[in-house]
Symmetry: C2
């Protein structure tokens, strides 16, 4: 696994590769760099991939994603797939494009992207979680995990706040996880900020529900292009009930500005 | 306007009327009961209408909405329209259906509904805003507004928490609005809970940006069928920047349980 990464200078961006394959259709490779166990692909990475395809279908080119809403219909596996896009609206302030990921002819992820121009000026108002600008030196990090590193650790660095990492030792607490993330070999861009909204471990790990917690629906609002440096992440849940939980991840960049808000509805892992 | 309401025993549910008009297509009437100024229709009501149509297209019948995600592409006006549905997936735990509202052949609202069974048992975890179970007696209410009552006030009662209603007197504060809502003549159901996620005035009214604040994208998670009685609402914004704001409304029922979480990306009203 590791050998495949050697030579990749920007293993996040370089895995988001689109090969035009017809009008609004792109061939894509679901990369083992972004496998997260059981052959499944990382949901946030899939979201970044379909969003890149959707934006590529819009004219004029160069629009930013403002909102990305996705239903995870079936879990795709490593290998070839295609994204079929359809422009729903071309507008002056907002354009809307659908981008559906198919594998073996079956729908895996259906996303709708509202695109336009992200703000660049100062904000009128902000009330954000208080998160340290960078991780403490000895926090649990994908950069210092057990060897061999999980595939994802080759593409980005993710550090969990020690104050919220008790689940790694079997401790339980409120469903809140904080951390920091940055891509390897490049600065974070808006697609990395989008992916970061689904990068922390499922927040239900904190209440002892460890395991595969499939996302059913995720909507991310993008608010600004991230500044270079660490992204700060905080995930919380309002309610866990009847096998369902919400997870709301706030992503703040190194300048302290909101870059992504991602809320998902997901299924709690079954009790082992 | 008032005369049209006489005799309607449940003016919320009775305006959500679907007339089958072909395979997966429903004729609907965009009702003046739900006009909110300038001939525009209430966004939350449109969401409830398309969701009802999407659910009606699913077999077996009787599924609950779990997540509703919608792009507001064009503002429709009072009059006839149609909802075209397409079942994307039929699953044991989750089915997915698209429901698009067209008027005069043009797409107005595109919604995707993830449907299944809402939980009925006890929750494992909840951390919700502290909101009083019912409004205080003298709070600003649509039931005691100026005559003639706005159309919406005939269909439901909405009370604004006096602690967050300073914008009515031109005062400014943090972008936070609380209130209570209930339909007239019936108990709240899950579609009313969905609509309630977009029922408070735009939260940017608190920072002095009063006016039409069009929703671009809204995703609501439904978490439980509401108990009879008042729904408690709280809307907050994380960031207002570059003409855009997020608004996150939490809807809690009379038993204190989370019933809806609705987050939208919207455009700030232009400075008058």
């Amino acid at each position: 696994m590791h050998a495949r990464c050697v030579g990749l200078e920007a293993p996040f961006s370089s895995t988001l590769t689109l090969a035009p394959a017809g009008l609004g259709v792109f061939d894509v490779a679901l990369s083992s760099e972004w496998a997260v166990g059981g052959g499944r692909l990382h949901g946030g990475w899939l979201l970044a991939l379909v969003t890149k395809a959707g934006l590529a279908a819009l004219r004029p080119a160069g629009a930013d994603p403002l909102a990305v809403s996705a239903e995870f219909v079936r879990a795709p596996v490593e290998g070839p797939a295609e994204v079929r896009t359809e422009v729903v609206k071309t507008g002056r302030t907002v354009s809307v494009v659908r981008a559906d990921l198919y594998q073996d002819g079956r729908l895996a992820v259906s996303a709708t992207i509202s695109a336009g121009r992200l703000p660049v000026g100062e904000r009128e108002w902000a009330e954000l979680p208080a998160l340290d600008a960078a991780p403490p030196p000895h926090a649990p990090s994908t950069a210092r995990g057990p060897e061999p590193l999980p595939p994802l650790a080759h593409a980005c660095e993710l550090v969990i706040d020690p104050a919220t990492s008790g689940y790694l030792r079997g401790e339980r607490g409120a469903p809140l996880i904080r951390g920091w993330a940055r891509p390897r070999g490049e600065d974070p861009n808006v697609l990395f900020a989008l992916m970061a909204g689904d990068l922390l471990p499922p927040v239900v790990f904190r209440v002892g529900r460890i395991g595969w917690s499939p996302t059913v629906q995720l909507t991310a609002l993008l608010r600004r292009r991230p500044a270079p440096g660490w992204l700060r992440l905080e995930s919380v849940s309002r309610t866990i009930a009847g096998g369902w939980f919400d997870e709301d991840c706030t992503v703040v960049d190194s300048s302290g500005r909101l870059v992504c808000q991602a809320r998902q509805l997901a299924l709690v892992a079954r009790r082992g």
